[in-house]
């Protein structure tokens, strides 16, 4: 029973972790992309359609990454090249993504999807409990964990990551040092889009292998909150993503338990629990203003125009 719950928690948490990791890199470069929800649903639609047409969920994954990445390029062009307002453009990206994905997936509504099969590690997966939970997962789960480690190394150990953080802290100073601000931000935005696309692919290939309009169901927004919650640190994104996934799954079980016991709890109240939990944790976290300020990219959301 506990093992089964844990497996569903992993499945529910992985897309949150992925999308939040991508947004973390984008925001560390000083760009606020509120279009995560839109890029995620585009990834979900592209992944499902490609998997249906080719019969391969792996081509589906690739299509999801490309779909999210290319879609984010639109955001990059508008905010970095044309210097449009990042908040407004991000919101527009979400609205556009929700509509466009509905169009892409229209012919596929109701079709049974192809589920991405787990990759089973020999020996490791025989370890009781942990082996079964951790080493019989699909490719996307393994990628999400590798990304946490990789992004943490990239940001805090590599010189390119240092440049990225420098741009996020002060783009004017970074420019004065000769760092190419716009190019780095384009790459960071596209990485964020690709991660959101991969998160979307997980939804339509693993979580619920089918296409339903609006199937991202607000997860993009939760991912955005997670980045702040994690004070822009990859390991905290992982912890926050799983905490959030656990609260979400937990409330489902709580509903069943309550029903069996004959206690009437409005289901809306329980569905709201994860969001209430986010608010509470955000308040607790932002209480320590020093860590928040040291980690917050100071030029977040500010447009950059080189003065030449």
């Amino acid at each position: 029973m506990f093992e089964a719950i844990l497996l569903t928690v992993i499945t529910a948490s992985t897309p949150l972790v992925l999308a939040a990791l991508g947004e973390l890199v984008t925001e560390r470069s000083g760009v606020l992309n509120l279009g995560v929800e839109g890029m995620m649903i585009m990834g979900a639609a592209c992944a499902f359609v490609a998997a249906q047409l080719t019969g391969s969920p792996y081509i589906g994954i690739l299509a999801g990454i490309l779909g999210g990445g290319i879609f984010s390029l639109l955001f990059g062009f508008l905010t970095l090249t044309l210097v449009a307002n990042q908040v407004a453009t991000g919101l527009a990206l979400t609205i556009l993504g929700l509509g466009l994905s509905g169009q892409i997936g229209e012919a596929f509504v109701g079709q049974p999807g192809i589920k991405l099969q787990p990759i089973v590690f020999p020996f490791l997966s025989d370890i009781p409990f942990f082996g079964r939970v951790l080493f019989r997962q699909d490719l996307i789960f393994y990628v999400s964990i590798a990304l946490v480690v990789g992004i943490n190394w990239f940001l805090f150990r590599s010189r390119t990551g240092l440049k990225l953080r420098a741009i996020g802290d002060s783009h004017a100073s970074a420019h004065a040092l000769g760092i190419n601000v716009i190019r780095t931000r384009y790459l960071a935005v596209m990485f964020g889009g690709a991660c959101a696309g991969l998160a979307g692919a997980q939804l339509s290939l693993v979580y619920t292998p089918q296409w339903v309009e609006n199937m991202s169901a607000g997860r993009g927004w939760i991912a955005l909150a997670l980045v702040v919650f994690a004070s822009w640190r990859p390991w905290r994104v992982l912890a926050g993503g799983y905490l959030f996934g656990a609260v979400g799954i937990g409330q489902l079980h709580a509903q069943i338990v309550a029903q069996n016991l004959g206690i009437v709890i409005p289901s809306q109240f329980l569905s709201a629990l994860p969001y209430a939990a986010t608010i509470v944790v955000l308040i607790i976290i932002s209480h320590n203003r020093r860590t928040t300020l040291i980690n917050t990219p100071a030029s977040l959301g500010k447009p950059f125009v080189p003065d030449r």
Partner: protein
């Protein structure tokens, strides 16, 4: 490049006819300049004279519209700061190009070859900073460092690239006199090693003291080249300003009246990790007195102003008295109603809304304190446009504010003229208490002397004036009494005549009578 081996007749860096246009405005106009190897060359000029634009072109941050840069006789194009560094040019910016959230070593690493490991950079930075007498901890976060320490990072960063020419943009504007002395020693050491220094400043005394040659800029043009040690400060100022600057006049101290501002036991915790907490501050200002508060930037001046003005009221009502009334918890409008006036530090976005007309800015500041004059219709608060326009006209005439049109946007005025208007806006009320933060920061010499005179005149007419400033010349010009703020603590006030520059410098470094003087006044 064999020329560099010859005698020092070939300049290290030459500039011929260098011009930079922003639209039709020429920030730099056909500038000629020669920097010889191993000399400290001053670039003198007022704010807006084009000094910063010129050096940005030399460092590849801006591209010239016309003209030529020659490096050891050969024409070069400097397309980026990277190319400038490659040519052996290092730069220490006025507004530091540092990243607050990163460590010292990380900041330095950003401008070096990415193949060099962070550990090696830490070691080299530590040994280099020791060799040049600039103590620095490579692992510290920049956000936790003082302004003087931040400047050291920039200098060490420039030195690590072994440059032939180091450009310093207004380096002493953020230093105590003692820190400045230590910087000069470093510069002499660099000169002895055969490196050149381009030293940008508007401080005449220090240019006369340390520079071998000076080039003077005004309105984007070269107006003179000289040996500064052969000039007087007055003759240099004439080259810089183009006319004689009016001297500020002060009568012998009139008898002081009643206590107008009394602060006791004022402690305020820091609002943000980067702010300074105020520690047990006490001061008294009497009618007819100008109390000047000196200090290096970032030692609690802004926080003290916020507490005095009521922009952020304090917890303890009794900590601040204005005209005998406890006002610690009273907001800014309540304090204005008691006859106080306040001029905050930033002109744009704090003291004035750039996008609004002068008359609107007048009304915003005084809509509560001068309700009767500017508003009518009782609860409806209808604006009396005729009244605010005539008041705007009155202020502009009184302070000689030069503007285009009758009532232009605040943002269209030059810094000096807008500052004159903002100070005039408060003076127009004849405040019995006035608190001003950095009254002439970034203002041209003519406007600065006009503002200082106005502050002195206000005190003479029987008001109490508090001037918070980093400019020691200004402080000695206006002050009756001087106190020094350092790391959120305020020294006692000394009569201006009893203090020397050196004493103030020690107080600015946080050294009080009871303490011995350690080797580095500002190291933590």
């Amino acid at each position: 490049m064999t020329l560099s081996e010859g005698p020092a007749t070939v300049p290290l860096l030459s500039v011929r006819g260098l011009t930079k246009l922003f639209g039709s405005f020429a920030a730099c106009n056909a500038i000629d300049l020669d920097i010889a190897p191993g000399e400290i060359h001053a670039l003198l000029g007022e704010n807006g004279a084009g000094k910063s634009t010129l050096v940005k072109m030399l460092f590849g941050v801006l591209q010239p519209s016309a003209g030529q840069i020659l490096c050891q006789g050969a024409p070069v194009t400097i397309a980026s700061p990277g190319e400038a560094r490659h040519l052996g040019i290092g730069m220490v910016f006025q507004h530091f190009s540092l990243f607050e959230a990163l460590t010292v070593a990380e900041n330095i690493a950003l401008s070096l070859d990415p193949k060099i490991s962070l550990a090696r950079i830490s070691d080299e930075a530590a040994s280099l900073s020791k060799a040049y007498g600039l103590p620095l901890d490579p692992q510290a976060h920049v956000a936790d460092l003082s302004v003087g320490e931040r400047q050291r990072i920039e200098i060490v960063r420039a030195l690590l690239q072994n440059p032939k020419l180091i450009i310093l943009d207004e380096p002493t504007s953020v230093l105590t006199p003692q820190e400045a002395d230590r910087l000069f020693e470093t510069l002499f050491k660099l000169k002895a090693e055969g490196r050149s220094v381009l030293y940008i400043s508007h401080r005449l005394e220090e240019v006369r003291r340390i520079c071998d040659r000076a080039t003077v800029l005004r309105h984007g043009k070269v107006t003179g080249a000289c040996d500064p040690s052969q000039e007087t400060p007055a003759s240099l100022a004439r080259m810089m300003v183009g006319s004689d600057v009016a001297e500020v006049h002060r009568d012998n101290a009139a008898a002081l009246g009643d206590i107008r501002i009394e602060v006791s036991n004022l402690s305020v915790p820091a609002r943000t990790p980067f702010a300074v907490s105020l520690k047990n501050i006490a001061m008294k200002v009497r009618a007819g007195e100008v109390l000047a508060i000196a200090g290096v930037a970032g030692n609690g001046q802004g926080e003290l102003f916020d507490a005095l003005s009521g922009e952020y009221p304090v917890a303890e009502d009794e900590a601040i008295h204005i005209r005998g009334k406890a006002v610690g918890r009273t907001g800014i409008n309540g304090r204005r109603l008691l006859g106080a006036g306040f001029v905050p530090e930033e002109r744009h976005g704090h003291a004035a809304v750039s996008a609004m007309a002068l008359s609107d800015n007048l009304l915003l500041a005084r809509s509560q304190s001068d309700k009767k004059a500017f508003l009518s219709g009782g609860a409806f608060s209808v604006i009396r446009f005729d009244a605010i326009r005539s008041a705007t006209r009155r202020i502009c005439e009184a302070m000689d504010v030069r503007k285009s049109g009758e009532d232009p946007q605040a943002g269209s005025l030059s810094g000096g003229n807008l500052q004159k208007f903002i100070v005039g806006r408060e003076l127009d009320r004849q405040p019995s208490v006035l608190v001003v933060n950095q009254p002439t920061w970034g203002v041209d010499a003519g406007a600065a002397s006009r503002i200082r005179q106005a502050l002195i005149d206000l005190a003479r007419s029987g008001s109490a004036v508090v001037v918070i400033s980093q400019d020691l010349d200004e402080i000695f010009e206006v002050a009756t009494n001087i106190a020094v703020i350092s790391e959120g603590s305020l020294s006692k006030a000394y009569p201006a005549g009893t203090l020397t520059l050196e004493r103030i410098g020690l107080l600015m470094g946080g050294i009080h009578e009871s303490h011995p003087i350690p080797e580095t006044a500002h190291a933590h």
